[in-house]
Symmetry: C2
Subunit: 317 residues, 2 copies
DNA sequence: CAATCGTCCTGAATAATGTCAGCCAGGAGG
DNA sequence: CCTCCTGGCTGACATTATTCAGGACGATTG
């Protein structure tokens, strides 16, 4: 808590520049250092979250299509990335999602984080912030080692950016037998962590494919054949590692019972649940997730948003 | 909610510049406008809170003296302005307080605001922010017309800066008889507003002098003679227009009963209560306010903080 | 104790940004 | 139909910020 002496001057420069609007040369004079150092300190201040710069996401929320989606699916907020703020379309959804996320978290909160390529990209696009007393908890177990978007990495990276405490989950996502999964869930450390899900103020997650491209397949937790079987049983999407059917109900299957992850009923009790969908092809899982009312807030691309509106009303909303 | 077409381009420019880090000339090229316009839009975006720039207040909180005050008076946060971030010592406390305040409010919250020179100065120093669903409520009745720091002005100004809804109090602060005050308190509009105090998530206030310099005297609500009498009865400070004694208890006096303002017990039920003390001479009222546990968070100058530590332990902490 | 390394700093050149007088289009009023 | 006015935009220029090669200083090591 006590500032390192080297950081003090960074804070001071940042304060004078951003709060009082002094010019860099004035600051240099007052602090008796060179102008170049001031510029350097200011960059450091921005990079470490000593100063926070946030642009409004209003642009993406103020849109008829967004309003329609809110009404149709009973969502509290929808943001649509349409590539009109172009640079690098790949980066747009993650950085929009990161901004929306940051505008939703506040000091003192507890946020649950799932995992996946999308969540990792969001973590990566997130600016550093200087929040107080924030806890980031991992919503599901871990994948085997040599996989790049590991759940614990998502959690830790977001925690780092928010200047928050990260709570990792010390269990694999998928176990080989139901019995082992049950036993592990009963372990105090794990039970506590699972119970903690209900205390989150918000959640950040995406929805995954339930097909051969699913992360759980790619990382070897499930074979392609097993997944095809699950699909025949009705799996259409994956939320926090668990299979859901087209109505958004957790699939009653052996796979889900082998899975160590947030209970989806507890999950739905979290007041704010931000879902981010990046891939154009995820219409089916997305519809399932919405039918299951997993999200209260949604970030997606214009094309998939349009597809959602065009698709038949079905069981949702 | 639907952006005015003229604002859309401002949002877009702000997004590209601050979120994606493009240069102004790139943005100009993409948006097919001149670079000068981009610079102008960006200024507008900063001025209207489309982009928010906040510097950490850590510098002022990380200090042994602040820690000591927290321990001694059981406060959740203390910030000390010591003039080391110099420009214009007059402006330092208000802008620090404004930054602290902004870091404490979040979207969806309800904040109560008292009044006074200090609160007005804070409102004035506050940057514009782009919060959602915030309500700013006035904590006490209004003063007579031709006075410059009117409670309703404080409320409305802060509401304006936060992009929030302001709820004014349609009653005078002081009435001429107890009977009238009682009758007025029973009016539905007023009763509702008074009841609303308990629902606030945070409060912003200062503590006033209980002497001839008090605002209530200057603005003519109370005569100097009346105030001397109150002082003899034990009044040492003023919180939201009401007299408190050295122990921080509301003074049981006719004046307080004529006063339309937040019930101080309800007030203390607000979870976060930020008190700001600007004047060096306010040691006595400050001690009273702390003894009464009105504040959970405190912003003050180094000299008065030091005086507080040096003063005998008394009944506080 | 000198050599080596790393860190933090600076001056000067380069790049980016802020400003302002003036221009243009469109609306109101004569 | 012209004139004036307003608001929004621009080009050119002045100001301000960033960068980077190199220098100073202190710590570490052989």
């Amino acid at each position: 808590m006590a500032l390192r002496p080297g950081d003090q001057i960074v804070h001071k420069a940042a304060w004078l520049y951003y709060t009082h609007g002094l010019r860099q040369d004035e600051i240099a004079r007052r602090l008796e250092i060179s102008r170049a150092s001031v510029a350097m300190y200011l960059r450091k201040a921005r990079e470490t979250g000593i100063v926070t710069i946030a642009a409004s996401t209003e642009l993406f929320a103020s849109d008829v299509l967004a309003r329609k989606l809110e009404d149709r699916f009973g969502l509290d907020g929808v943001w649509i990335a349409d590539g009109s703020a172009f640079p690098d379309p790949e980066a747009e959804i993650p950085s929009l999602a990161a901004s929306v996320f940051l505008s939703m978290v506040g000091s003192g909160q507890r946020v649950g984080v799932a995992w996946g390529r999308t969540v990792y990209a969001i973590a990566d696009a997130m600016t550093f912030a200087d929040l107080k007393d924030v806890t980031v908890v991992q919503l599901c177990g871990n994948l085997g080692a040599p996989y790049s978007y590991r759940p614990d990495q998502c959690t830790m990276e977001i925690a780092r950016r928010l200047n928050a405490k990260g709570l990792n989950f010390y269990a694999p996502l998928i176990l080989s037998t139901e019995a082992l999964a049950t036993a592990l869930r009963a372990e105090p450390v794990i039970r506590e962590q699972l119970a903690g899900v209900g205390e989150c103020d918000m959640a950040l997650f995406s929805v995954g494919f339930a097909d051969e491209d699913a992360h759980v397949v790619k990382c070897g937790a499930v074979t392609a054949a097993e997944l095809r079987a699950l699909r025949r049983q009705g799996a259409v999407g994956v939320i926090a590692g668990q299979m859901i059917d087209a109505d958004g109900a957790p699939l009653d299957c052996e796979y889900n019972r082998r899975c160590i992850s947030a209970d989806l009923t507890d999950f739905r009790a979290i007041p704010k649940r931000l879902m981010v969908v990046q891939e154009e092809a995820k219409l089916e899982p997305l519809r399932a997730a919405l039918a299951g009312r997993f999200a209260t807030h949604l970030v997606l691309s214009r094309t998939i948003a349009q597809a959602l509106i065009d698709s038949p009303a079905g069981q949702a909303g």
